[in-house]
Amino acid sequence: MKKVLVLFLAFFLPLGAFAADREVYVFNWSQYIDPAVLDLFKKETGIEVKYSTFESNEALFAKLKILKKNGYDVAFPSTYFVERMRRLGMLKPLDHAKLPNMKNLNQGLLNKPYDPDNAYSVPYMWGSSAIGVNAKVVDPSTVTSWDDLWNPAYKGKVLLMDDVRDVFAMSLRSLGYSGNETDPARLKEAYKKLLKLKPSVKVFNSDSPKQPFLNNEVVIGQIWGGEVYQANEENPDIKYIYPREGATFWADNMVIPASTRNIDHAHAFIDFMCRPDIAKMNCEYVGYATANAKAQEMLDEKTRNHKAVYPDKADLDRGEFQTDVGEAIMTYEKYWELLKTQ
């Protein structure tokens, strides 16, 4: 009996000591992963996930900036923060050879200006902000452009996002510029145009823009595709229109911070998240669109064909992902404050 015990200990003790190193530190948005995925990862790879969450890109950025080493192995910043952190040397380049499951991703979401060739990031969830209308009041076929928001017929019935970048991107696109413009003269032009829209705006809301639509407070405005999908369960008359100038797209991406403890574990985790069955679990749990094309095919027909969530390739190509505007953000904020205090 004693012998067995010794053998038992000899066998398991080193493993126990070893297990302490088999960890991966993951830093994600709250409510943004199926917790079962973390258990599955441990079961299949033996690597334990040390999971913590943040509420904003700024909080993520500040934390990664302060931690010089022994930080997180995988984090989930949005597009423009990927770009900023990459530029500031806060990310480790990805080794694509260690990420065979990247082949499952939606090709339309790869190699975007915020991270050419996906050298530092892999998209996780994504979506768009475009035009929402209440079809009971506004004929959706008459709305094709961001400019339609300026139509005096909708005075007092317009919703804009309560977000400086989203609102300015819309105005800039309607002027034929990029939504990531940094030229002060063009930003001023966009501000002047927004001043004309302000009296029409009933509400600024980016927490849940579907609510004012469902409450019949607004009939047209900016909204996220995912919110239209949710709103349609209650009211199928809320329609989503990709304007001809192009919608604004967002994506949250997996990256490896420079302060990583174990770059191999980080790659293993990212690759695991790109597996179609795992991506499907996360997509169904979180409710946003998955960047995984294989997982998308596995979803039920109603979801995978809903244009508000999964746009046509043409609409995706016409749109723009938010990139970091650098110091121009100060100019954006200055005009935003002026717009809000008018």
Binding site: E58, F204, N216, E217, I329, L338, T341
Partner: protein, 287 residues
């Protein structure tokens, strides 16, 4: 050291320690940050500057402060008008009814004010309870717009802050010496005279305490105006939030917080002085 004094040291020391660690230290960090320089590549650089305070006094920030002050003042005036008669009646009714009414006033506080604000949205929205009721009774033919107007903002703020006005008023009205009012009446004073020359001056400490407890939170609250008013204007709270979350200008956001705190501190000093004046005033009246 006796057991009693050890207990006393503990009882005083532990909250003090708590305040020092979780209030004073973080606040000192805010003050320090307000004198540092923004770093576009990171968070701050350790270059001391007064630039943030110079930048704060821009026309936009003054307008933002103006918006917040008007909102807070309006809310204080409205709550005072509503709370005074209510508190007065409370002191005059049967004790059991009074207790019941006080409990009714406290119960909503068991729910988060954010949730209660969402409840107001359900009440006021175009297809909400109020409009459905008014349309059904034929009182109106088109839904009236309340949500996303200034009216909704004031209703929300007054509703949330009303108890903070009622309780101090109630306490000071309860202490009111009835004999003084009887004496005034006996000497031929009209009800108006009694109210303005006796009741009002004697309850001034309650009015000042209540107004402070309403005005200061109203100055900083921004989620109620955002949710009920449609976020079409910018308040101090929004301004500070944007400095941290949009432009990552922590020094400017910190400077704005320090200015807001200083303003509130000055108001508290004013409150303290006026209460003492009001108290010495009632000493004279008694003499």
């Amino acid at each position: 050291m006796t057991r009693g004094s050890r207990f006393r040291n503990f009882a005083i020391g532990s909250p003090m320690l708590w305040i020092a660690v979780f209030v004073v230290v973080p606040y000192l960090i805010v003050v320090l940050f307000s004198f540092l320089t923004r770093d576009p590549e990171g968070i701050v650089t350790w270059t001391l500057t007064l630039e943030n305070y110079r930048e704060i006094f821009s026309p936009v920030f003054l307008k933002v402060c103006g918006n917040s002050f008007i909102l807070a003042l309006g809310t204080t005036a409205l709550t005072l008008l509503l709370a005074y008669p209510f508190a007065y009646i409370l002191t005059r009714i049967d004790e059991n009814v009074r207790r019941f009414l006080l409990v009714l006033m406290i119960i909503p506080f068991w729910t988060s004010s954010l949730i209660r604000t969402y409840a107001l949205i359900i009440l006021f929205k175009a297809n909400g309870l109020l409009n459905t009721f008014l349309l059904a009774t034929g009182l109106i033919s088109e839904p009236i717009s309340i949500l996303y107007t200034e009216t909704a903002v004031f209703i929300g703020l007054v509703y949330t802050l009303l108890p903070f006005m009622i309780l101090p008023l109630y306490a000071s009205l309860l202490k009111l010496d009835r004999r003084l009012m009887e004496a005034a009446r006996d000497l031929g004073a009209t009800s108006r005279h009694v109210f303005f020359h006796i009741v009002l001056p004697l309850t001034l400490p309650g009015i000042i305490a209540g107004s402070t407890m309403v005005f200061l939170p109203a100055l900083g609250l921004f989620y109620i105006p955002d949710l009920l008013g449609g976020a079409r204007s910018m308040l101090i709270g929004n301004f500070i939030k944007n400095q941290f979350l949009t432009t990552s200008n922590w020094p400017l956001g910190s400077a704005a917080s320090v200015v807001l705190t200083l303003l509130m501190f000055l108001l508290l000093v004013w409150f303290f002085i006026s209460t003492r004046r009001a108290h010495s005033g009632d000493m004279e009246t008694v003499k």
